[in-house]
Symmetry: C2
Subunit: 204 residues, 2 copies
Amino acid sequence: MNAQTCLQLLREIKDAAFATVDENGIPQVRIIDVMLVEEDALYFCTARGKDFFRQLIQTGQVAITGMNRDFQMIRLHGKVQKLPDQKKWIDRIFQYNPSMNHVYPGESRYILEPFCITTGQIEFFDLGKQPIYRQSLSIGQSCSEKKGFTITDSCIGCGHCSIVCPQHCICEGSPYTIEQSHCLHCGLCAEQCPSLAIKRKREV
Amino acid sequence: MNAQTCLQLLREIKDAAFATVDENGIPQVRIIDVMLVEEDALYFCTARGKDFFRQLIQTGQVAITGMNRDFQMIRLHGKVQKLPDQKKWIDRIFQYNPSMNHVYPGESRYILEPFCITTGQIEFFDLGKQPIYRQSLSIGQSCSEKKGFTITDSCIGCGHCSIVCPQHCICEGSPYTIEQSHCLHCGLCAEQCPSLAIKRKREV
């Protein structure tokens, strides 16, 4: 699974959820069509009158998620840019998404502005598999984030974490190790470790 | 369409997108199951180790959206509460959502904490109809928000707004009026009004 495949999966899901932060710091989310995916970039559009438009312009940030019928979930958050050359992009978007003409017929399409995400973090999460499978990826100049938990050298090898893990994804060793690609990030191992050896990666 | 029906629709969609704001003010969104809907309240759960859990506790705010196969979209944002009596609620949630046992078998379910939304704003949006149909509702002690546009007394009755409206939802009159239930909030009428008579409701 690479970044391009993940973006393509969002394009196939099409009606994805787009989250922003409003002027009061409150999360807002709505379903928006993923209009185009090309060369590691995702394109969408919205109308200049909408709160969504204002939030994109004000914050420059968006988070997107969608899940397909096989319970494969994509999460993406990143920087959003309003594109210059509005008419070219809106025409291109309508060419690939002709049903948009029912909502914005004729010239009214030009109330829409095209946006693009070229930098961000992607998380692929397959809940249809047992154990679950996750993978982190990035697009553009974005460094991958530290998420989840890790077992430090304070591990005493008691194996309690391995017993309680709901996905059975902790392997024996010195120290024990978490198979990151199967971890739910639920935190049960960290709570139950008698030597407090399991830490959040971001706090290590 | 009332609030209870909207929440029930989210329960039927089941895999809805839940948006939060992280510690850096960045929007985050993921697919979460709507676990229960009872008496104008929506219930879900998440694990104590997850970033989602921390964001819920820190901000007390969440926004949810989902769309069904008939292109009916529900948007909800409101205050979120962690519920006391954790075991009672988690057991109840697992009773109604038995597939949760595959992800969190046995006692591992108690790494989950139950949350509830009892106060918030709902927006129902039917994109399957022409013209589109929207309705705002609230649950709990929440006042409904002002969204969209209104035509003020500065209207000179030229009818230009009515011609450009992509959904044909502006009616002749003195002043002209917007049929709010069919309005996209695209803002094209406001941009094109020669007498600047059309204002955002929140700025009026």
